[in-house]
């Protein structure tokens, strides 16, 4: 195995190095963020409100630029040069599915990404069908998005991104506003996927359930990086960064296979 294949075979899905960023109005959100996510990992990004999580996410596919530091996705640096490729590799599922389902039917929404990348005809159809099957929404292909429940729209939003066959799936608050049954359905879907996952969430039990590793972003830097169970059991760390567990939830009592 020569060095190139060796490098790409083990290239991390995501490498963020020294990322700093300030908005034009002067407010600096990131003060030097460093972390790496390996291929196939599922990582939770935790942190209090205002820590800079959404700002960080928008850097991962090059929507925000102009700061300091680098972001590399599967060996490709995020920048003007490879933008289309980067946007195919980094699939961001935003918090409001209504912002992401902008076509008249579910099928067209899921087809949008691959079609923009140049897919046509039966290949496009196959891609759409596979993506919808992975989230269990293939029966709703011809429905308009506003006929779906919130949980269903969330799943279709995931499908729109899966259809692009991304390297890494970035989810912004995936379990917010979902009822417990929908939360479980989504969790099952995420567990079944063979893709790297970075999940920004306030839902600590969800993070513990799905992500073996967690990062804590606080005051614009990574304050902690380790096994989720250990981080959540560290009371002082949690208190320091305004993270609180739900009433009665004891992370130590949860037995995980992960």
């Amino acid at each position: 195995m020569d060095s190139v294949t060796a490098a790409t075979a083990t290239a991390p899905s995501l490498e963020v190095s020294g990322l700093a960023f300030a908005y034009p109005d002067g407010h600096q959100a990131l003060f030097g963020v460093d972390f790496t996510v390996g291929r196939g990992e599922r990582v939770a990004l935790l942190g209090p409100n205002g820590a800079g999580k959404t700002t960080l996410v928008l850097h991962l596919n090059g929507i925000l630029t102009g700061g300091a530091g680098t972001v590399t996705v599967a060996g490709l640096p995020v920048g003007r040069k490879h933008m289309a490729e980067i946007r195919r590799k980094v699939g961001i599922v935003f918090q409001d599915p209504d912002d992401q389902l902008f076509m008249p039917s579910v099928r067209e929404d899921v087809a949008f990404g691959p079609a923009a990348a140049g897919l046509k005809g039966p290949e496009l159809e196959a891609r759409v069908r596979t993506a919808l099957e992975r989230v269990g929404m293939e029966a709703f292909a011809d429905r308009p998005p506003h006929h779906l429940s919130f949980g269903q729209r969330r799943r279709v939003a995931v499908a729109t991104v899966l259809a692009m066959e991304p390297e890494i799936l970035v989810l912004d608050e995936p379990s917010s506003n979902l009822d417990p049954a929908s939360r479980r359905e989504l969790a099952d879907i995420l567990r079944s996927l063979d893709v790297t996952v970075l999940m920004v969430t306030h839902d600590l039990p969800y993070a513990l359930e799905l992500c073996p590793r967690a990062l804590i972003l606080s005051d614009g830097v990574i304050a902690a990086d380790g096994r989720t169970g250990e981080l959540l059991s560290d009371d002082e760390l949690m208190r320091e960064h305004r993270l609180e567990l739900p009433f009665g939830f004891d992370p130590r009592s949860v037995t995980m296979g992960a």
Binding site: Y23, P24, G62, I63, T65, G66, G67, R80
Partner: protein, 349 residues
């Protein structure tokens, strides 16, 4: 009110359709120049806003309520091109999806309710904003005046279209006074709502109001302990040629249309002529009626004058449209050379 089929005869409906199509085409290009690749989602959402806000009830008294048409509001909030585009899309979809307004009357509806209101409103607005001091109050006042004039202007435009292609012989003077009169009242309502809404947006996000560009205080730099103005950005060179071509083409098309439509309209053996011929109605009687109306100069009822008066009405209509349109282009051109483009939040796409 959306004009139904049959109100305006076929040739004039088609003519209005051509005018509307041209206006929408120009607006598409203008909007794309302004918004670039954000045109589709932004214009779409603004159109959705206009569609929704037209259903907002503004109570007047005792169970009656008024509604916003939105042409002036659109022009001031998102500019003339995007404004015309958004209201046109709303009208188009109302006609096709909800059977609100005749399919053949789409041209008339779009011309009167989307193009005339927006163009008149924007022209008046720009003119006033230039004259008044650069304050937020000026914006809302200008918005009020622009809207209050735009609605009767649309009514007058409709009357003009009716004069050329209406299918019933209701005296134009009566129609004009009734239409304009009622619509001045409606215009006051529209103006109040428009001004208040623009004021509400400016209070929170002045950067989103197209008409308030240049109102923000320029950024200052601290150089050597003193506050200095940021250097002005390079003015974007305006392609004068493209504007002139559009202007000339539009003028030529309008004149041809006015001539063709007017000729056709008067040659069309409509019920008036037939009845007059059958019953031997005296042309003089018609002249008397015409002489009393404020539009005696181009009284369309006069049989003997029908061709000339029709043609004159057409040319006057073209003149008004061209004048307003040129005013818009001039205003837009001036804006592009004198103002810097607003900066976006560090986003690169």
């Amino acid at each position: 009110m959306h004009v139904p089929d049959g109100f305006i005869n076929a040739p004039v409906s088609v003519g209005a359709g051509v005018v509307a199509a041209a206006a929408v085409a120009v607006s598409l290009r203008g909007a794309r120049r302004e918004l670039d690749e954000r045109t589709a989602p932004l214009a779409g959402l603004v159109a959705a806003f206009i569609f929704a806000v037209q259903m907002l009830n503004f109570p007047v008294a005792a169970g009656t309520s008024g509604h916003l048409l939105g042409g002036a509001l659109a022009a001031i909030l998102v500019g003339p091109f995007t404004g015309v585009l958004c209201v046109s899309v709303v009208l188009l979809m109302q006609g096709i999806l909800f059977a609100d307004g005749g399919l053949t009357a789409l041209g008339v509806n779009i011309t009167v309710m989307a193009v005339v209101t927006t163009v008149v409103a924007y022209t008046v607005f720009r003119g006033l904003v230039k004259l008044l001091p650069k304050k937020r109050r000026s914006i809302t006042v200008s918005a009020f005046v622009a809207a209050v004039l735009s609605v009767p202007a649309a009514a007058a435009a409709f009357t003009l279209v009716y004069a050329i292609g209406g299918t019933t012989d209701v005296p134009i003077g009566q129609v004009l006074t009734a239409m304009v009169g009622v619509h001045v009242l409606i215009g006051i309502g529209e103006a109040a709502i428009t001004a208040l809404t623009v004021g509400a947006v400016i209070a929170v996000r002045p950067d989103l109001v197209y008409g308030a560009r240049g109102l923000t205080a320029p950024l200052k730099l601290r150089v050597g302990g003193e506050l200095v103005d940021t250097p002005a950005a390079e003015p974007v060179p305006v392609a004068a040629r493209s504007h002139r071509t559009v202007w000339l083409t539009g003028l030529a098309a309008s004149l041809v249309l006015a001539g063709f439509v007017s000729f056709y309209a008067s040659a069309n053996p409509d019920g008036l002529e037939k009845v007059a011929a059958d019953k031997g109605i005296d042309a003089k009687a018609e002249d008397h009626a015409a002489a009393d109306s404020p539009l005696a100069d181009y009284g369309v009822e006069g049989l003997t004058d029908s061709r000339i008066s029709g043609g004159l009405a057409g040319v006057i209509g073209v003149g008004v449209t061209v004048g307003a349109g040129t005013g818009v282009f001039w205003a837009v051109r001036k804006r592009r050379t004198s103002e810097t483009s607003p900066s976006e939040v560090g986003e690169s796409v």
